[in-house]
């Protein structure tokens, strides 16, 4: 057992899979010799060589298109898109190509690839380098969408994504790269479509993803110590497939539901889950579900502005406390 960063977990996760399977290849901009703009691929080029870890031109369409062609014909590519905002310039592959080829061909073609990307805010990069794009991807039939919050989940879910026969969008949170967590030695393989109860509780369920998980945990700990309110925090981890069983189970236990989303409010994943809970567990609820999101605005750059846009532990605490007391 060692304590490593989320960033090092990315490197370890990719290395674990490349060492296991020669068909796993890796491509992206500045990923090989330079080790990645977030330094999340340092050492891979040295370990696996220029045939398996490849620098590409600034050609997001070519990166994802090539990953798809390679996947369709037998490789297991991991493609990096530097910032998730850039999905917009290669969205054809994400929306029209990867997820539809199996269906349109009536099951003839397959597309087992992983797109890794730096997602989310907190680095003062402004509106074109800070977005959380999980909702762009979640709505597309045929894709899987994963967003880990801890080093151990990074390794395990990345391994699961690489071994998955479907195209997987793997969203790494930029602000989590320097954070640390305990990781056991040896191979780690998790399962997609499983949520994790990261803090058990009785009074309310808080669903969170990626950077919002540690914030929700902090809020829950303070709600307990300062107000005697005992919240259960569920790390959703995977939006597609979605672990509704764990979510509904938690709501059945606590009878109250809060979602914490780092994305613009409109059409956020929280709305989808609230709708599922309303359909299938309405009578488990003791009060209306509440969504805590960013407002429906582009992300501002200034630290003072960015900080108030993202849900904070304080905002989560206040919202939960007021809702439970009303």
């Amino acid at each position: 057992m060692a304590e490593i960063t989320y960033r090092d977990a990315v490197i370890r996760g990719i290395a674990q899979e490349m060492a296991r399977d020669n068909d796993v290849v890796f491509l992206g901009e500045d990923v090989a010799k330079a080790g990645g703009v977030f330094k999340a691929t340092v050492g891979l080029y040295e370990q696996f060589g220029p045939l398996r870890v490849r620098d590409t031109p600034i050609s997001e369409q070519a990166i994802l298109g090539a990953a798809m062609g390679a996947a369709m014909t037998g490789l297991k590519p991991i493609a990096e898109i530097m910032f998730s905002d850039f999905f917009a310039v290669c969205f054809d592959y994400i929306a029209n190509e990867f997820p539809k080829s199996r269906y349109m061909s009536n099951g003839q073609t397959k597309c087992p690839l992983v797109v890794r990307t730096g997602n989310g805010a907190g680095s003062r990069f402004g509106a074109q380098h800070s977005q959380s794009v999980e909702n762009w991807c979640m709505m597309i039939p045929g894709l899987k969408v994963v967003a880990p919050s801890s080093p151990i989940d990074v390794i395990g879910l990345l391994a699961a994504a690489v071994r998955d026969p479907d195209p997987v969008i793997f969203l790494e949170h930029k602000s989590l790269y320097p954070t640390k967590g305990e990781v056991p030695d040896g191979e780690i393989v998790d399962r997609l479509g499983t949520a994790k109860i990261v803090r058990p509780g009785r009074d309310a369920t808080i669903l969170a993803l990626a950077l919002m998980v540690p914030r929700a945990v902090e809020a829950a700990n303070r709600l307990q110590s300062e107000h005697g309110i005992d919240c259960e925090v569920v790390d959703v981890r995977s939006l597609v497939p979605l672990d509704t069983q764990t979510i509904l189970g938690s709501v059945a236990k606590t009878h109250r539901l809060f979602t914490v989303e780092e994305n613009p409010r409109l059409c956020g994943w929280g709305a989808e889950i609230v709708s599922i809970v309303a359909d299938e567990a309405f009578y488990d609820l003791d009060g209306p579900p509440v969504r805590i999101t960013t407002p429906h605005i582009p992300l501002p750059a200034a630290d003072i502005l960015e900080d108030i846009v993202l849900p904070t532990p304080e905002r989560i605490m206040d919202t939960v406390r007021r809702s439970l007391q009303s």
């Binding site: 798809m68 073609t109 479509g193």
Partner: protein, 344 residues
């Protein structure tokens, strides 16, 4: 195959004995005719409301699909567009499977789940037809990258139109393929029009593909896309280079579509006489004359014509008799587990 009797009137020395050879020439003729007849049939069936949706015919462009396909080896991969019936048939997919898909029947290539614009037959190396302009050029690069990485000897061949050369993905793919020296052959079928607009009106260079080849360090190659022999020889050379590790080629084949862009298009934008002029250079007419020059008898040609017509007639009847797809395939194959569930 020509018999001695058929050749009775042939002057000495005029046999099918050049580099292409008799068997291949007859195969090239048959394939072009098969595409022509199948597509004309698709149009007839549309008029009878038996083919629905849209479809994009390659009438007049048969030599390109045929020449490139006949030079391919088993295991080579082709990537085509919504105008991909020809490329799919050229690789040996049956007329029944193609017409069945166009008629949205259960006997279609994808049982009606793909439609006219999305023909795929992995067993024939037909790796899909892509309806978003330019999307498949990078995908073909990826398939070629796999061949390079694994030491496989197959070539990926990617067909697209002149209009596609103004899309970003074209330029990304060409640069990518060139820097990685991938075994991929890009084939631009310059039929002079994108949808309804002449390509010259919207392109900064006269030859939309070939004039840009130098930007990627590639040879400028322009060929007569209506002469299947020229196409076949060009393809052989490009594939050989790709297999030898010499990297990609970009080939601009000059051709012309006899019909409108899609079935909704009467092609009124064409200048008077243009179609007639190109019909004199109809690839099938050219090829039939070529066979005769080489001494193939009328009977051999007539036999091929009759057998192709019968194949298309039989396929049509089989498709008319085939059931519509069952509703239970609606939700299959969204995910690899065969289903469509996105939650547990």
């Amino acid at each position: 195959m020509a018999t001695a009797q058929d050749r009775a009137s042939v002057p000495p020395g005029a046999g099918l004995n050049d580099d292409i050879g008799e068997d291949k020439r007859l195969a090239i003729y048959r394939s072009q005719l098969r595409i022509r007849e199948a597509e004309q049939r698709a149009y007839d069936l549309f008029l009878q409301n038996l083919v629905k949706g849209t479809s994009h015919l390659s009438l007049g462009q048969e030599a390109v699909a045929t020449g490139f396909a006949e030079a391919m080896q088993k295991g080579d991969l082709s990537f085509c567009t919504y105008r991909g019936h020809a490329h799919t048939l050229a690789r040996g997919v049956s007329v029944e499977k193609v017409l069945g898909e166009l008629m949205q029947r259960d006997n279609g290539l994808m049982r009606g789940k793909g439609g006219s614009m999305h023909l795929t037959s992995e067993e024939h190396g037909v790796m899909g037809s892509y309806a978003i302009i330019g999307a498949h050029l990078p995908i073909a690069c990826g398939a070629a990258w796999r061949a390079q990485y694994k030491g496989d000897k197959d070539v990926s061949v990617c067909f697209f139109g002149d209009g596609t050369t103004n899309i970003g993905a074209f330029h990304e793919a060409l640069n990518f393929a060139a820097v990685w020296k991938l075994p991929v052959v890009f084939v631009c079928e310059n039929n002079l029009y994108m949808e309804y607009t002449p390509i010259g009106d919207v392109t900064a260079v006269p030859h939309p593909a070939a004039d840009r080849a130098a930007s990627y360090g590639l040879e400028r190659i322009i060929i007569d896309g209506n002469d299947a022999d020229v196409v076949y020889r060009t393809a052989q050379k490009a594939y050989a280079n790709a297999r030898a590790g010499e990297g990609p080629s970009l080939i601009e084949a000059l051709t012309y579509r006899h019909s409108g862009h899609s079935r909704a298009d009467p092609a009124k934008y064409r200048p008077e006489g243009e179609l007639e002029k190109w019909k004199e250079r109809d690839p099938i007419k050219i090829y039939r004359e070529r066979l005769k020059q080489f001494g193939v008898g009328d009977k051999v040609i007539a036999d091929i014509d009759a057998s192709v017509r019968k194949e298309v007639d039989d396929a049509t009847e089989a498709c008319k008799a085939a059931p519509m797809p069952p509703l239970d395939i609606l939700t299959t194959d969204v995910y690899a587990d065969g289903g469509w569930a996105w939650r547990n």
